[in-house]
Structure formats: structure tokens, C-alpha cells
Subunit: 291 residues, 6 copies
């Protein structure tokens, strides 16, 4: 999906969105949980549909950290005054001065006004967030809980950050994360008969209340499991089928990856030497020499 | 590449290999560093070859965490006595007893004798390991150092773990990591003219001294940059070209992903309920009901 | 003790008060230090009065984390705009918007505007804060220092947060914490003869300078050790006796637990789905079915 | 319950048992999760039975950290050679020498051969393990998952540690933890109608397979919710009722706290100065002076 | 060098400057990296000039943590309202009230408005920041990268904090840190022949653009290596010689330590009891007695 | 003091000794606590003797981390089989194989068999170990406690590690650390009149029981405060005077730094490329070229 341009740079909005990247319930966590569970799957032959489900969702999560990162980067672009000390007349300039009260100083010191694997308090993501017990039922229960917790965090970020770029991202992830919630609920149901879907939605607000999510649900995107590998994950549909627990629509596996959106171009921030004011003539010169 | 079967289960060998997964210089670090640098790249238009290089290497790193994970899982498979308490006659059995002195108890408590995003001391990988300053030269210098540090760790794991499975993995990663070392050296050379390649090898032992690496170098794999995206990363060859700094062979970009190896099947560990002793009849029953 | 209603919601006051909960010198630390020292006490027969003292204080500390939690919860209640998305007309509402600059975003993302085991910077409390060396003199010295450090933190929170609810809590804890300071000083004196009480007060301001503490000291509460177990801790008075080192009043053991105060009711925060907008009719319906 | 004497001191068994104390799924986690959720409960009036359930379970958890601590302390008692340097003839003695390879050196350096709030790798428990979202359904789901994860850890510790003291403790906690699993399953069922109990047991081995748990289940202890407060938690039975999901027995609330067991006496470890070789005459002398 | 008086107290400026103290690239890191590498140096006889270089730079770094600390302390002095509760008339005063929104509350709770070994987000410095592989080339490469990263952080702090005291400190450290960058570049060149100096400056702005750095470079201080030990480090000049890679000036070893500047006096903060309102008469009295 | 050669390499002894380096009560902690308290001292004019005391002790601590480091390095030297892969005939060699069960793998992966700023469990030292409240009495009390805790750790390491090198180091540090204990006791006594010295020794074993400490105490080294700065710390003797609390000997300030011992040479570990097998001819060649 294509992200709209933010209303304006907003460092504290970016800091808040970091919760969805590096928070305990952020996209780093969903990505890495499913990746490790997929790597570590034992007895794959007997439980192939579950392996396929977890592995396929892991593949999709990679695009989610990309989307959250892009949102953060767009929100941070231009937060400080653009200027190049190499060319600046005023030696006394303090282009970052305006952000001395910003909540996440790592955005200005550690990164070039860009995303980091940290949460909304700047604390780094940790491998301790990965759960991979090897017991299938327990791992699926964990994943179901993790996705519900992730949903709560997304909703709360939505409630805090009004910016249309952030909300478009959250709306989309509510829908795709919603697919994962239902997927793990279905998997638990197949495995045990428990009607886990009856717990939904958690928290008690449905996606359709969020315009930026509703727009995707209208297209049925909350009922589609994209199959990310042309040659693999063939038993997905043994779990992903039947009616959606919230609106009763048919769950379907689609054998293609969703069309990508144009990746936003992030402008240079010369006051941070990001990416750096290298003389292009020098660059060409060396390129010629080094061939 | 296909991993050979280990000589036997070996919990402390697996614990040691974890350094290459979740250590500061493990594959989680290389993967996530390049992923974030790729996401955060500013001024891409002017520095496209460098963006392509970093992004393309990030893509390859994903297969490296997979390979390290598989090695750990193979080494851990069967470390404890396989038995199923559901069917066990001896209620007093302690199937994990033999590993009470194992260095990494998380392998037995937190995972089902499988890999975790932790290092050789069991400490979790952290987002603090990601460096993404936004300054291109500094990020490239970091990456060059990171890969050299990673190489030192690989060599030391090789020196400690004699198991052929672990060494096959290390040998392969020495070669592919070696490609990344040269890539970042080349990028710095293109950008500045400094002959960074003259620093190599770091540490001062060349890959060819390791039989499991030499076998790949003989095929020239240390001179190949695989292009992981059919539609992107088209300017790779503007950096990846010229002679290899150690043996002078021609650096080449190859427009395909290396053929995968069969993914090893990991046996069940019923004493850990991994994946779990679910009654297959019950499973079929519910599958029918839930449809 | 009953907490007064805060002057108004104040997220950053709540963030500051967290230091007294999850800080290195917060109530989590005093509670857990004495709990573990009590569990781990060796040679109890020969040192029973000291065991009784530590165990009894541990019991009281539980009520202190409760009190700090209640203060934080009261300060956070209503900090954001109350609204229920399930019933909201305005789909564009951002009820948490006003707190995008709040220092502790965990209060809004991780909790439902409520207390967490973290300090004033949002860093989680850690078991590394527990000291339990097993050497009685060293553990008592630690406890004496810990309580003095805790006192310094309480005073500084008092100096920062003017809210009457927070100050009433601090005032009360200064008095009860003061009892613990004297208790550990007395224990060291009994054990060694050193007049540790002569060091007090640390820091160099006495409780009576704080009106919210003075009100309790007037009632003599700074000289009372409540005995929390009807059947145990019978040798408390062998340590807790003699004159108070600061005002010379008689130290007394009282064989009852102080009367509790009404627990404040915390209003719902529907914009956070806390506790959640479950349809009460549905609830009754299921209750009937499930019986 | 009374703990049997261990077969002998065993430092690495104690190190393993620490997972049940300070691990992510240890008793510190269950205690603190429910304690904070209880403190933070919003809208208590409308959801009183759930508040009562969580608060009452929190109260029971305190006795569980005590039990795990006692087990660790018993296993560590006597692991090193008892001797008192104050009286030792051989100035060259190294009484801890035998434990230089012990997995958890904190047991010998930081504590006096006693329990610490750390896990089986010696990593400290952290407040990051507490989940208290404020959304009731999500918190209950978390608790259900947490207890299942805790159960998996208990079973794995049982599989590793054969010592009868450790196994008696695990057996008892499997039963009481099992009560909490069912309690949160019931709460979710009451709240939503989903038959969460059908997921049990997780992992897929029932308590009755463990002799040390079966002995308690025979007495029906897995169906009893003890009410820990004489004046409170009166609505417990609105959730805790109906048939046990595994064996169909009737769930009952019992209005009393289970009879305590005699607290084990832990012998002195003079080689660690624990509690310390204070001259008893000196002690009496000062006691007389200080009065 | 002597620090100018700040324009005024500024808590968030102090919080930002902490990055240069306890950040991953702060002076704690440079100090401790070189200290450990110096302690751990193997094969010193064959590589003496490198040992001398690293050890000598370690010695200088100690003065750098002192300088950063002094800057922070000056910026924090007077941030809150000075008052002494022991003498205050108004019992209701809240002298720290004005800093309830300050980014780093540890400055007011944990320290007496003074520096701490933490970074700009208040996260503590950690030993994980120390790299000491033992391989000389790798350690030198690390140090070169570390100093470049430290330089980037200094520049960014300069861009954010306009205060003349902070900028004087940064200007001086840019110059001295610049010496260390060149030193490690030279060492790598000596060892391998690679012209590492051609990478400079990293980031792509030279020191002379910063007036507070330029003033020192005019005096040639960027070309001087001070020898910190009268009896040691005699082979420094075997590495530190030749032309400066940026301006071509001659690198020189100077056999003396730079003249110290007067250490600033930090005023008391009585509202924090720092250092504490001890009665001077009492003090004299005891001094006489204890004499 | 000169360290004796260890009885033999011993990796787990080295791992244990790390507690005295990077543990909460290790020499990193004493060094950094006093360093920061010295930097942060407010109101120095009125409390000069205390400033002098803390600063002077800070200076001595630097030599203590050096001594602990040297001990660790000596114990680790030769733990693995020395061999150089560049010259090794047997390509299959695994020189580190013998240490696959060593408790601290960082010694072999992260360092070149050398010390690291970590504790006996391999956990890194953290700035959270620094206490610098600004309140003089509280800081002195902290320091007194810290030194007593450090003493307990030293004794326990002594009890575990029989190696003469380790014990010589511990014996010496018991004496010098003992000086610091008495120094802070004296400071508290001067400031308040409390006879804190009566608490000693903590733990309850006196230094003279340890032959390696007794040898220094016989020379009176436990009564000497060395003055580390020729031009400063002139008011030390206002605190450091009177009788030693344990043996009554006169406390004296000595205006010189103790004579250093020869720094041990650490042999190369070629199997770790530490420092690295650089061709000496190449080295000379480049040295000539680069001049």
C-alpha cells in the first residue's frame, strides 16, 4: 500500500509509532517469532498445514517492518532545519535546536532522523521477545495472544497520532494483523475444536470502526491469505478456510503476493550529513580510477 | 548448501554456535543492520549503487540466519532421551537429566531443543546492535568492521567446534561473509579512493586455510554477488567489480539466487511435547467437523 | 491511609511517581529485598529477632506498592479524553492526542493509564536490585542504606510533584519508611554496638518538615512497628525498643495491622478499551448458558 | 505442603529450578502480573467477579515464590564444604572449590547459597515480564497463556531434575497452576462464550501422569479455589464453577486458606559467613547495654 | 581547557550532552575500550608501538569523561529553584516543580543535578560497549570506527545544543578525538599499508567548520600527541608521524601533559540536600572529639 | 604488587575472578562510583576533606582494575592449545575444543582469552551500578556499604579459587579495600559522630585470617592512605587519622604512590590470531615506505 505524505514532520509522532516497530508487540516481534518458530518446527510431516501457516505469515511480516519504518522516516523527514555546514554561512547555526525536547533523541544522534529497532521509549527490541517453545499448541496460543496484544497497541497508537500517514499505516496493519489473529484462532480450532474465534475482537472494537482499516475490509482484504512462496506453503488452505469469525465472509487463499506500492523517497538531511556531502566530482574521479 | 548430519547431538556445541546467531556479531546483527540501513537510506537517487549493495546483502542475510538455526537444531536434536510421558511406563523418568549441566538451559526450557535469538552465553540479541547513522561513509565503515568482527567470531567457533555440520556451516558463511567484507571495502574505495582492501584478511588467516571454506572458494563463490531481486538492485555492478583484493580473481554479479538446499527435517522430541502428542484420530475428527 | 483526590490528571506527575514504584530505590525493591532475605535466612534459631524484623517489614512493604500504584492510577485517570470508539460519531477522533508529549508512553500503550513496574524513565524494575548475601550484618547494612536511598528519592519526588494525592502518599511513606530505617539501625546496634542511629536523618532534613509526614508523626506512627502476623514474629520487640534516635520517643510494637483505607475506584477509560466495552446483555446471556 | 529433604545438595539442580522463580514464566511473573492487574483494575463495579478472581490468585502466588525459594535453598544447602575460617586450622582451605564449575555462580557470590530473583541462566527477573493492558479480555487471555507457558516450564524442569524435593514442589505447583489455567479459561468463557477449556491440557500431557501431582489431584485439590481474604473476593464463585474441563469434577470455592507446612530450617553455611560468626557473648553483652 | 559559564541552566541540554558521556559512542566507551585493550595486549614485545599508542590514548580519555561531566554539571546547576527545606518558611514549596517535564529525571532523583554514566535517553552505559578481540588489526579497525562514530555524535550534539559551554567542550573534543582518529588510521597504515586516512573526514564535515574546534586547530593541537607517562610509551612516534591526512601538517609527539584548566566549582543545591545541610558547628564539634 | 604465576591455565577460575572486575561489587563499580562522585561534588569548599578522600580513593581504584585484569589474563593464557592455522599442518585442528564447556565463552569469542568488563556470569558491568546522589552522607554510606559488599565478594572468590595468582591478588585487594572501608567509616564518623567502625569487620572474618592479606597487614599497609596527586588532596589527613578500628594501629597518609610491580607479559595466542600473525617482513616494508 502507498503511504500518504504526512501533514508535517512530527518527531513525537514518530517516537510513538516506534512502539509498532520495536515494542514488545511490534512488528519486529511478530516477524521474529514466526521466523524462529518456522525454523524450529519439529515433526513437520505430521503437522504440515501449521508449518505452512506460520512460515507464510513470517514472510508477510517482513513487509510490515518495512511499512512501519517508512512511516517513521516520513514523519521524521524535515523535523530539523535543513542546512549544510559545509556551505553554511552562519557558523553558529544549531539546526537540531528545535528538537532538544523531542522524546527520542536517538532519532537525531544514532540515526539520521530515521527508524530504529526500539520502542516508543527508545528501548531496544530484544530477542527475549521471541517465544518458540516447540509445543505447537502453546506456540499457536502465544501467537494468537501476541497478535491481539499487537492489535491493542496499534489501536492505541491510532488514538494518539492523528497524522494521516501514520493512520493509513495502522489501518492497513489492523487488517493484515487481523488476518493473522484469525489464522491462529483457526489453527487452534483445527487442532483442538475450541471455538477460539468467539473471543474476537480483542480489544472490543472492530476494525470497521477505523476508516483507514474499513477501506481495506470493504475490498475483502481481511479474508485473504496471500501465499508468499510459489513453490511452497501448499497446505495453507487446510487451516485458512471457512467463515470469518467476525463478519462471516469466506476465508480465501490467494496465490500471489499483493502488488507493492512505490517506496517513498526520503530526502537528504544535510545538517546530519545524511547521507553526506561528498563532492560528486571527486566521486566520479575515483570511480574512473578504480573502474 | 546442504548441511551434513552432525557426528552426534552436542548441546554445548549448539550453545557455542548460538554466538553466530544472536551474538553482537551474529547473523541477526548483519541481517538487521543492513535491513534498517536499507529502509532508512536517504538521497537514494544520488547514491543508488550503494543502496543496491546494502539492500541486496540484507536479502542474502536472511538465508544465513536460517542456516545457523538449522545447524543449532541439528546439534540439539536427540541431546536428551526421547520418550513420551503419555505412553511412558516409568513415571519416574527424567529424560532431560543428562543435560542438567548443559551451558544453555534455555534450549531445554524456552525452546524445544532448538535455536533462539541469543548468543553463546544465552543473552538475547538486542536492537542496540543495529547501527544506522544515515551517514553513508560511516555506515559502510561500520559494516566493514561488523563483517570483520563476524569473521573473527566464525573462525573462533570453528576452532572450538569440531562437528562437521557446524564446520560446514561456518565454512560456507566464511565465504559468503567474505563477499560482504569485500563489498563494503569496495564501496568505501569507490566513495573515497582509500584502498581499504589492503587491510584484508582480518583476522590474519585466509579462508583457504579452512577446508570447508576452500571447497567453495575453488568454485569461485567468494567472487560472486548474487542479485536477489529480479527487478531491482540493478546498479550493484558499479561497486561490485574489479579484482578480489586477496586472490585477484574477477568480482562478478550473478543474476540469480543460489539454488537452495533441502531443508533438514527435525525429528520430534516427545519428552518436550515438541510438537506435542496430539491424538491423530482426534485431529481428523475435528478437521472433518470444522471443515 | 486514604488518598485524597488529585488536583487533576497529570501524566508527568504519574511518570515521576513511578520512581517510587519501580526505581532502584522504589517499593518493589524494598518489598523484594526483604522477601528474599526472609526466605533465605540461615541459622534462624540463633538470630530469630532479626528474622522476625526483616520478615515483618517485608509484609508491610506489600501495602506500600499498593499505595504507590493507587497514586499513579489516580493521577493517570482522565489524562486523555474519554470516549468510546464503539459509540463515537467522529471516526477521526484522537483521544490520546493530548499526551503525545507525555514522558512515559507505556502508560498509554502498555497499560490502561495505570501503574507499571518501571521507574521514572520507564525502565523496568529488575531482580538485580535484590541484595541477599546471607551475611546478616551485611544484609542489615544494605537494608539501612536502601531505606536511606529510598528516603532521598521520596523527598525528591515530593519536591517535584505538588499534587496533594502524591504528597499525601509520600508523607505517609516517609513515616513508615522512617520506621524501617530506624529498625535496621537498631538491628545493627544490637548486633554490634555501633550507634548507627546517630547518622540520622539521611538526607539531612527531618520528616517533621513535611506537613503530610508531620501529621502522622504527631500520632506517633513513626514509633510503631505493626506486627503483621498474629502467630509469628514474636521476637520483634527484642530489636524494636528503646528511644527513637531522632525525637527520643519510645519505640513500640503494636500487635495489629493498621486499619485499611477504602481502595479508590478507578474509572473506566473507554478510549483505551479499559476494561472494554463488552455488551452487558451478551455477558448475561453467556453467564446463563455457561451456568 | 511440606517439602521432602533433597537426596543431596545439587547446585545445578538448584540452578535449573531458578527458572520457576525468576524466569519469564516463573512464579515472580505470575505473582507480579496478577498483583499489578489487580491494582490497576478499572470499572471494578461492573466486572467484580473478574477482579475477585485475579486478586485472589495473586494472593496465592505469594506462597508459590516461597515454595520455589525453599526448594532452591534446600538443594543449595551443603553444596560446598562447611567450615569456619575464624576457627579453621588450614589457612589454605578453599571450601567453595568444588563448585567452581557450577552453572550459577551468583548462588555462591551474591547469595549465601540461596535463591535469587533470576532464571536458570542467572538472568534477573524484569518488570518487562508484567502485562497489564487494562483491557480485561486481553489481560485474561495473557494470563491463560502465561499459565500454560509456566506449565510447560514446570514440566521441563521436572523432566530434568529427578530430586524428590524439586519434584514434590513441581507436582504441587502443576496442580495449583492448573487451577489458575482453568480459572482464566472459565473467565474467558464467561466473558465471551468461547469454550477455551477445550484447548487443555497445554502441553499435551495431563497432570495425572506425574505421581507428585496425581497425589494432590486425587484429593481434589485441582478443583478447589481457596479464598484468601475473609472479607473480600466474595464473587469468585460466579466464575469458578461448573465442571473441570479435563476430568469433569465440580469446581468449588473453599473459604479458607490451605494449612501451611512447616517452614524448613536452613542450616548455616559458615564458609560463606552466612549468617555470620558473631560471638554470642558479644551479642549478649551489647543486648544488655542497649537494652 | 577552561569551560565558559553556560548561558543559563538547561536540563534538556544536559540530557543531550549525556550522549557524549554514557552513549555507545560516548567518552566512557572510548576510555574503557582502550583501557581494556591496553590491559589485554598480547605479544607486546613485537608490537610495542601499537601498545604504546592505545595505552597513551586511554590515559587521555580519562580527562575527557571529566570534561563532559563538568559540562553536564554546569548546565544542570541551578535548573531548579534553590531553597533549603530546613530553613524554608513555605512548607508547600516544590522547588523541582519546574523540571517535571525534563527528559532525564535521573538528574533530579538519582543524582544531585549532576552527571551520570547514562546516555541521552537515560540508559546506562554498559560493558557490552567494550570491544577487545585481541586481534590487533581488528581492534585498531574497531577503534577507528568507534572514534568516527563518536565524532558523528559530537557533531550532532553540537547541532542541537547552542549553549557556549557545551559547544566549547564539543569543539575541544572534536580536535582531540580527531587526533585519535588519525592515530588509529596511522596505526592501520603502518600495519598494512592501506591508506585509511583517505577516508577522512567522517562524517564529511571538517573540524575547521566549527569555530570552537577551529580555535584549537589553529594552534596545531590536532597534530599533537601528548605523551601521558614520563617513563613509558616511548615508541609512540613510530606510529604518530608524517603528515596529517586532512591538512598535511606534521604530526608530533609532545612529551608533556597539556596544562590543566581550573576545575569549575559547582554550587550547592540545598533543595536536593546536595551536599547536605549539616550544621557546621556540629561538624567542628565532632571533628574535635574524634580528632 | 607482583603477581605470582598461576599454577596453570584455568578458564573457570578466570570466569570466577571476573566477579571482582565487572560484578555489581567489582572494581569497575568502586572505580566509577568514586570517579563520578568526585566529578559531581557540590560545595567543595565547605567539605574539602571529603572531596579529597573520595577523589584520592578513585585514583587508587584504577590500579585495582588493572590488577584484576592481569590476574584474569594470566589464568586464561594457555587455556587452549597454541597453534597457528597459517602454519598448521593439520587443517582439521580444533585448538579451542578443550574449552567448549568453559563457563564464560566470551573469553574465547569476544576477547583473545583476556579480561572483559563482565561479571562471573558473563553479564556486562552497567552504569546502573553507579550511585552519586549528591548528598554527602548518603554517598559515604553507600560507599561504606559498597566496600563491605566488595569485601564479601573477594572473600568468596578466595574461598572458590585456590590458584596462588588469584589469591595473591585477592589478598592484596582485601587490604587496600579494607583501607577504603575504614576511610568511609571514618568520614561518616567525622561528619556525624556515629562510631561506624564498630560494625567492622563485615563479613565477620578479619583480613589476618588470609595469609595473602596478612603478609601486607604485617607491613602496616592496611593503615596507609597513599596520596595519589602531588599537588592535590591535601586535606586527606583531616579524615584519615586516629586508630584503626580493628587493630588500633595509627592511620597514616603517605605522600607517595606505592611502587609499581612489573607488568606481566602475556604470551601470544596464535590460535585466536591474538595479536595476529602478521608477516614481520611485510611490517618492516610498509614501515619504511610510510616512514
Amino acid at each position: 500500500m502507498a503511504l500518504p505524505t504526512p501533514d508535517g514532520p512530527d518527531a513525537n509522532a514518530a517516537a510513538a509509532v516506534q512502539e509498532l516497530m520495536g515494542g514488545k508487540f511490534g512488528e519486529m516481534s511478530t516477524l521474529m517469532n514466526y521466523t524462529f518458530q518456522s525454523f524450529n518446527f519439529r515433526g513437520r510431516k505430521n503437522f504440515r498445514p501449521y508449518f505452512d501457516l506460520i512460515s507464510n505469515i513470517a514472510a508477510e511480516e517482513y513487509s510490515h517492518i518495512e511499512l512501519v519504518s517508512a512511516t517513521i522516516n516520513l514523519l521524521l523527514s524535515g523535523t530539523t532545519k535543513r542546512s549544510d555546514r559545509n556551505t553554511a554561512k552562519n557558523a553558529k547555526a544549531a539546526p537540531l535546536e528545535g528538537e532538544i525536547n523531542a522524546r527520542n533523541t536517538y532519532h537525531f544522534f544514532a540515526s539520521g532522523q530515521a527508524s530504529l529497532p526500539v520502542d516508543s521509549m527508545g528501548n531496544p527490541w530484544t530477542g527475549a521477545n521471541v517465544f518458540s517453545s516447540g509445543n505447537l499448541k502453546l506456540d499457536l496460543l502465544h501467537n494468537f495472544f501476541l497478535e491481539c496484544g499487537a492489535r491493542a497497541n496499534k489501536i492505541r497508537v491510532y488514538e494518539m497520532v492523528k497524522d494521516p500517514c501514520a493512520r493509513a499505516m495502522v489501518g492497513f496493519l489492523l487488517v493484515r494483523g487481523g488476518v493473522h489473529i484469525v489464522a491462529y484462532a483457526r489453527a487452534l480450532e483445527k487442532l483442538t475444536g475450541a471455538n477460539v474465534g468467539a473471543l474476537l475482537p480483542i480489544p472490543d472494537v472492530c476494525n470497521k470502526k477505523f476508516p483507514e482499516a474499513a477501506v481495506h475490509e470493504k475490498k475483502g482484504i481481511h479474508r485473504i491469505m496471500y501465499r508468499w512462496s510459489p513453490d511452497d506453503y501448499s497446505q495453507l488452505a487446510e487451516v485458512w478456510n471457512g467463515p470469518h469469525p467476525e463478519d462471516g465472509g469466506e476465508l480465501v487463499v490467494v496465490d500471489e503476493v499483493p502488488e507493492g506500492a512505490p517506496w517513498p523517497e526520503f530526502d537528504e538531511e544535510p545538517q546530519l550529513s545524511s547521507p553526506g556531502g561528498i563532492d560528486p566530482d571527486m566521486l566520479k574521479h575515483y570511480a574512473k580510477i578504480l573502474g
